[in-house]
Symmetry: C2
Subunit: 518 residues, 2 copies
């Protein structure tokens, strides 16, 4: 990760660890100390290495495993252990992480985590061959997570830029990262570099690489080729796969009648295989084989919504809900096979039908974690779809969606730049936090309250330190303030919004004196 | 308004008029013709003048009026006429404007408008001395409106910059504009320039100027001085006033106990007058006099929430709801006096209590239009508060809030720049439109569907033309596309997100052929 530029404001933030029941469970946090000596622990996904290209293999010796080619296989998945009632180190790690995220020692016990996993309502994506990944949990009962998509396409981006996007993603708090690269030569080595540098779970859509291996020829994209791609990626260490197995052929006529048909890339590839070869979805017909591969490495399945609506008019139709119903049945098969799974969701949905989407998913998928892309609540704001989608995303997360896939400002127009990655992530971190607050997670409001107190007391530098994007907040503030406000000793009791004379915050002091408060 | 830079993409958009029952009712729209000859009428607030400093006085001879100093007084307000069952030209204008906004000739009749006004559930802010203002309506049954705040402070901004912010506001669709200038010398002439250049209603907070006239001395801010300021601004042509009359002294102890006390500038000024002089709120005690002034010029009252919460922890407390209950009683007095009014709301509210805020307002204020500032759904994202607030704003508008006051990216940090005005407005236009869609306003989805069809058919230039910010959408798209895609004849059937090989949209054509669709 590039070194942050020297701060022009005071921020006292150091890495600290909360230890678990054994020496090798050490969960990193950032400990923020404010100018009034108040402290907050902040959840971090930045990892624990000084070399951003190589993260420590913290889980190297945590699980029983067996050799497989030049990698390892698991004996049991997290789900297998949970069903047996066994608390793994991963579960304990996650319990500490979730509890201290919002400053509450007792919020989640390792048993809570185990129980959630055992019921299939939460997932810890952690491939045995990605020991750098710090365990994290995706589930309604826990804090809302954010995924960042990165990935090169044949038209845009290159190796260095993708690694730089990974680092941006970590810097701004991505809980997982999906590598959606297609059409470049070094897919395998790019993914290897990403895995070794990533302390967060990495997801992929294996059919992208399979089609690359088939040189873009749909007819050459056979089950054997697809399966081999899945095996190779699983062995390499990918933590979760998006597989569009629920897009069965009976749903295609419904999709064909839409304005925008199929907008999922993976779904479109599967559909084209089906239509051109007049056969059923191979991921559906061979689902048991996929489960076997995923079980071997404890890869989680992200059951893809190949028929997610691409515009408001297409939302909540027979194609979308029909696929979701099929996915629900596949989710049960995952559960029975000991494979962790979660469910992908839309997409584009009008604001008044967002809650319905969550409830339908819960019904069909037995409360397996929901993982949505937004949803966008209008189609007419390209260039601002990080916002149209954060509106739907924060709302559906407040109703129970466990993870949000970010959308960047370049959605519908171009491949995101590193700056877009940053903007998309900050937007989704605030949306996810708004949902945590709405879910009344214990302690979720502590940071907001620390911010409010810093505002009340004109502790500007503390306000920046408490922000999701401290440097940016500082730059905006500084742009209109006189130079003498630079140093910590001279934090002014006003800002340029109202100027010195009209500051209501300062005038509050009279009110408090009058009524004998504080 | 500055001339738009020459478009690098094709857009066919011309001003057109829908005529009413008499010659002087001509409602401007922008008629957009797409490359497939599809047409859409777009609502416009840009006015009808080629000289952006001087808009035509379209309402100059619409109402009975009488001379007052060098200006005019009304004989009856829009509310008076509506109560008598009389449809005014303003009401007919608004019916056309609302109906055609979403392409539906029959959606609203002049009688619908009259009935809404007569029940006090909608407002047409239109001062007799601001004949340049094109009538627009604020009410739950109609499309959601957006207000943009502009205004200089003593630390930042100047005359030209404020006029430039007005033009930016109009360019990006502000339905009303509030001039919140304080602490500068030429408040009156700045306001005069804004009124003459504005085809949208202008709002102010008169107590800001009153305190300026008192040279910042709270003790010199007497009722006589305040009243004279209100009279002068009303006579000048301000269309609505924010008056913090509901902040009565019994509520102050509740406010003092908050983390952030009072964050409303106007509310803080009133509170300080009360505390320092140990007297009741002068706008409350002299409310009948204020009503008389507002009635003289048909100024609408925006009953200000001086006790809106400044952080999540302060939301929905006794201070906020106590003030709202008082405001509800004042709203009844407005109604009885023939003065149009609407109600200001928060502020900072957790996502799970947004609906409650709307319902409580309806109960206390008899469905008078609600006008909220966001609300922001988290406090930890300064620099991104246009987004934190658009989340709460779109949601509360979907529940019935009639107008949203925009929040810019510089909120909590600095005075907005013209670029911030633009970003804030686009963000709020998309939030308001998302709410219109959620309210199922007839025809609201037409533009979204036109966008979806343009996407399905790779009509990129049509996509830009249909966007809330066409230039920006084009720039993002173009930044990663090869040069030969420049001209209309060569719109590529892919974009840089997936590259040529993987475009799912293009692959849909096979699907449609297979199933015989279109």
């Amino acid at each position: 990760m590039p070194k942050p530029s020297p701060k022009k404001f005071c921020v006292n933030k150091v890495r600290t660890y909360i230890e678990g029941s054994s020496q090798d469970i050490k969960v990193p946090f950032e400990k923020l100390t404010l100018s009034n000596d108040e402290t907050l622990l902040l959840y971090t996904v930045k990892g624990q290495s000084d070399d951003p290209r190589q993260m420590p293999k913290i889980r190297e010796n945590w699980q029983s495993k067996e050799a497989s080619a030049n990698r390892f296989k698991v004996k049991k998945t997290q789900l297998d252990y949970a069903k047996e009632g066994k608390v793994t180190k991963e579960m304990e790690y996650v319990a500490i992480r979730e509890s201290y995220k919002y400053g509450n020692e007792m919020a989640f016990t390792p048993d809570d985590v185990k129980n959630a996993i055992s019921r299939g309502v939460a997932v810890i994506p952690a491939n045995i061959n990605h020991p750098e990944a710090e365990p994290m949990i995706i589930g309604t009962d826990f804090s809302v997570k954010v995924n960042a998509n990165i990935g090169a396409s044949s038209l845009s981006s290159n190796f260095d830029e993708e690694i730089s996007k990974l680092h941006k993603s970590l810097e701004f708090g991505a809980d997982t990262v999906m590598d959606l690269s297609t059409g470049i030569k070094d897919l395998t080595s790019l993914r290897e570099a990403i895995l070794r540098a990533s302390p967060v779970p990495i997801g992929t859509v294996p059919v992208y690489e399979a089609l690359d291996r088939a040189h873009g020829d749909i007819n050459a994209l056979t089950w054997d080729l697809f399966k081999q791609t899945v095996i190779d990626q699983a062995r390499q260490g990918v933590d979760y796969f998006t597989i569009h197995a629920g897009l069965v052929s009976s749903l295609l006529p419904h999709a064909a009648r839409r304005i925008l048909g199929i907008v999922s890339r993976g779904g479109s590839i599967m559909a084209n295989c089906m239509v051109r070869r007049d056969e059923e979805n191979m991921a559906y017909t061979h689902f048991d084989e996929l489960l076997e591969i995923c079980h071997d490495y404890d890869v989680a399945l992200s059951l893809g919504d190949g028929l997610r609506p691409g515009c408001l008019q297409d939302a909540c139709d027979k194609a979308q809900y029909g696929e979701l119903e099929t996915i629900g049945k596949l989710a049960s098969r995952c559960y029975d096979a000991g494979v962790q799974c979660f469910i992908e969701g839309p997409g584009h949905v009008p604001l008044d039908r967002v809650e319905e989407n969550q409830r339908v998913q819960e019904k069909f998928c037995h409360h397996a974690p929901f993982y949505t892309l937004g949803p966008l609540v209008t189609d007419i704001a390209p260039g601002y779809d990080h916002i149209t989608s954060a509106i739907g995303g924060s709302l559906i997360a407040s109703y129970g969606t466990a993870m949000l896939c970010y959308v960047t400002p370049s959605e519908h127009l171009a491949l995101p730049t590193p700056d877009d990655v940053k903007t998309g992530l900050i937007t989704y971190k605030l949306a996810a936090h708004a949902a945590d607050l709405a879910k009344n997670l214990p302690g979720a409001i502590l940071r907001d309250n620390a911010m409010a107190r810093a505002r009340a007391e004109f502790r500007w530098h503390d306000q920046f330190a408490l922000s999701l994007d401290p440097d940016h907040a500082y730059e905006v503030w500084k742009s209109q303030m006189p130079d003498e406000c630079e140093t910590r000793g001279h934090q002014p009791s006003y800002c340029s919004m109202c100027g010195p004379r009209f500051c209501p915050i300062r005038l509050n002091r009279f009110l408090q004196e009058k009524y004998g408060v504080k």
